[in-house]
Amino acid sequence: MLDIFKGYKGRAVEVLKSFKMRVWGNCTINTTRGKFEGIILPRSENDDDKHIVLKLPTGYNVGIDIDTITGMKENSFKEAHYKIPEKEFPYTPGLPKVKLLGTGGTIASRLDYRTGAVIPAFSPGELYGAVPELAEICNLDTEKVFAVFSENMGPEQYIKLAVSIGEEIKKGIDGIVIGHGTDTMHYTSAALSFMLQDLPVPVVMVGSQRSSDRPSSDAALNLMHAAYTAGNADIAEVLVCMFGPTSDEYALLHQGTRVRKMHSSYRSTFRTIGETPIASVKRGEIKPIKTDYNRRRDDKKVKVYPYFEERIAMVYYYPNMHPDMIDSLVDNGYKGIVIIGTGLGHINKPVYPAIKRAVAKGVHIYMTVQTLWGFVHMFVYDTGRDLMSMGIVPAENMLPETAYIKLGWVLGQTTDPEKVRDMMLTPIARDITEGEPYNGYLIFQGGIPEVEEFLKTFHK
């Protein structure tokens, strides 16, 4: 059935029906609070059933309380059709060939002012319309691999993406850009870092913290930075490319296994933890920060390991945690657990029996730290030694999310405890480092004079 009451429900639909009204109708509504004229807009399904949304001729939206309505009359009707006119993405000889793979996040979009809807732009032509500068950076091709929200990304998508990238590389491409929602971008970047090894070209993940429908969005600049990196960087790694400072200045290229989303809303939310980023990028310029990264090659070869065991879990330890937290995972058939412990990697004694039981049942347990920065050191205190003797393996300085992804990836290939341990503790893409550099841990504290001076001098 044609839904002419888009989003309306309950009493609001009854009122619309009783006056023979429909969405998109340009109408006059008489109410006890006076007369209103405008176009009836669809209503968000989560909103109540007591109001009707009207777009006034001045462009503003208002809601009309259905209990105040005394009469409604449709004056004209024009249904809105969402369609973005495409412009052909121009081909420029000499520019690198870049493939953009879409996962469902909105990279670029445009507004429908009549309805206020945000329409995503994705095809090369649409993107060219929204970010024409891309044509000066690369020859772009796009493909929507799947369409899921960032929070719904999982093993199935990691594998699909890794395989698609492998195919693109074999066909010959100068770089890959992956558009991705930011919430779980660092999980996906870790997964791709393990699944795609010996990359010959950059694989650059990018998203935006401010939606692309707003003039101050970081989306366009992020996309330009990512496209430039994919096409030109000598860094054949899985990278996350997002704002360095919150200012529109440059992006940082983070190692896919060492990056984390650190703020719920800042543009500069992605930070490399326990290391420095690999490089920074501005349009037309990549400045390396590190030198020991894999270099670009032109052999179109890449090793793809598209494996993942889904029955693994992360447990964030808290004081007074009861053993049944672990027991229930074991009883439900989980094969691997990453514990995020306190301090150097600790949990409390009452959980010990559950750990023993889990290990005895063949569950692989790895320890990471809540502090995010620093290594797991389980030799320092008795607690740590006890835990190790029970079979918990310290995961060095792997980030919890990275350890989780890696354990899933490893268990997808073997369940032999020794092999698992060996693979887990052998660094693949800087997921474990030999040590932490002096500038790997920097959380500046506001209010301290020298920090304030820094903030005043440089754009944050």
């Binding site: 001045t58 101050s216 600049l221 005043k456």
Partner: protein
Amino acid sequence: MVNKWEQNWLRTRERVKWVELKKADLQTYQDIGFKCGLEVHQQLDTEKKLFCRCPAGIYSDFDNYDAEIVRHMRPTLSELGEYDGTALMEFKTRKKIVYRIKNETACTYEFDDTPPFSINRQALEYGMEIALLLKLNIVGELHVTRKQYLDGSIPTGFQRTTILGIEGEFPISTRTIRVIQFSVEEDSCREVSDHRHTRVYYTDRLGMPLTQTVTYPDMLTPQEAAEACHYIRFVARSSGKVRTGIGAARQDVNVSVTGGTRVEIKGVSHISWIPSLTHNEAFRQRSFLEIKKELQSRSLDKSTWNISHCSLPLNKLQPRPIIDKITKSGWMLIAVNLPGFQNILSFFTQPQRTFADEIADRLKVIACLEKPNMLHSEEFCFSDKDYTDHPQLLSGEEWQLIKGLLQAKQEDAQILFWTPQEDLQTALETIQERAMWAFDGVPNETRKSLPDGTTIFERVLPGADRMYPDTDSKPIPISQEFVEEVLDKMPLYVYERMEQLAAWGVPRDAHTYILRNNLMPDIEHISAEHDIDPKKTALLFAHNIKSLHGDGPLPVKPDKISDLITFVKSRKLTFDIVYEMLPYLADDPKIQFSSVLDLIGYEKHNREDILKEIPLLHKMYQSFKTKSANQPFSECNWIMGQLRKLALGNMPLREVEEKVLAEITKEK
């Protein structure tokens, strides 16, 4: 001596039938088809900002900041895949926007690194009261809408705004003015500077709750526009919940004339500026209509009309400071030919302004070329104006040389401007675009007001196509209970207050002061409490207190006045002394009343002691050698002068005066 181009300017001014504001009458505006609408902005006096919890109303010096953030604004595509005119222009300017942030007045919301917190309820309540006072149709549910601004004045690139009511009306002396809508929105940043490609803003004002009242273009003279604006201001003030002081109230004024188009004059900070601004804008539009006619009469073909340009070697011109400057900065000197445009560049547009200024203004705004940015073949210095900062005019020979290089014809006009390479294209497009507009009449634009009553180009007028819902906010129902709650506490309508003032016999000239300062409740209260004629209380404010400060904030708070009257009564002093004491209270609000009495030298005297002086003074006056022609009058004045200090506070001065006059006239 008046130069030939100034003569053209004077001639065209006559052609436009320009008259001074004070010489214009109703007929002038009827002939021109003057129409004016208002968008009145008023800050609400809330403790916090509209969408975050930062304090409202705290301002810092521009140089006192903790950090800066850089942003750029990108236009977003509209439904048809076209960019909004304004959006395109702003993007052309390629501005780097710098925001200055001070911890006390801004959080991550201000610089768009955090979504909005829920809307400030206090602001909604305050706004609702004003909406009801304007007799608007109140909406059933608030929807926060984003209104795009690409000039950078708001870091998100849009203003969050919400409509509280639509379709109201209010009376002015000549007609009823209709209101389109009333909204509460977040205030924008304060501009620190705008130089070349960098614009700097301060974020302290950003996000403060601001109301916007939009009227239909119902005002048909500049005076009506000012009166309507006063009325809207009075309504806001009557709620007692709005901020006052510099920048707390501003308005945008829309003007159009028959055959013209809507032009918006932004940021008018004084209502007294409205008449001259709108008057001049009407004639500016009329001058473009005359230019259009003139170009038509020259049978120029718009479809093929194009400027041509060439780069001018710097050594071709006589050495002069501007050439040195261009050489030093590595800029280029560009000569432009405007075919068939002779006598257009020096065409009158506004007092002391020519059509060439329209181009220069746009070069500044769109191509980011700071003024002075050009010279032209019809350049002249107004004979009554100071030109110290203007680049030296070129000689006739120099223009001949330029015309030669451009292969210009006699009927053409030329512009000479200077630019760095990267702005050349935009500058040329800007000149072409503005010149093309001359064929069509009046371009749609927003203009910035100047204190002299003229305006300069600010940006292309944005279309309605820049609104979309704020996906970060939920709709807020406006219940009947909420509306009734606000109605219960609401003061009288402004027109009712005006009727009340008239009924009390308060002269009309005193109304503005009383309504502007929202003194009605105080006048009523003081009059009732002390049993004083309301007219007397009204005039105490509108004449006596007004004379102490002019336009600033009230120097003596109404509560203090009431205390003063109580004090005067308790000391059994006469009311006259209140007027004498006021200036001291204005100077030092903390001073004790008894100290003021000492300062004015009050001494207690009884009635008999004062009255017995009259015959003595009369006698003394009689003994003076020189006397005025108007003798009884000047004698009375003289005696009152002598007695004033003695009588003040002890006996009503009017009564003393009556006694004096009786004494003087007794003998006749």
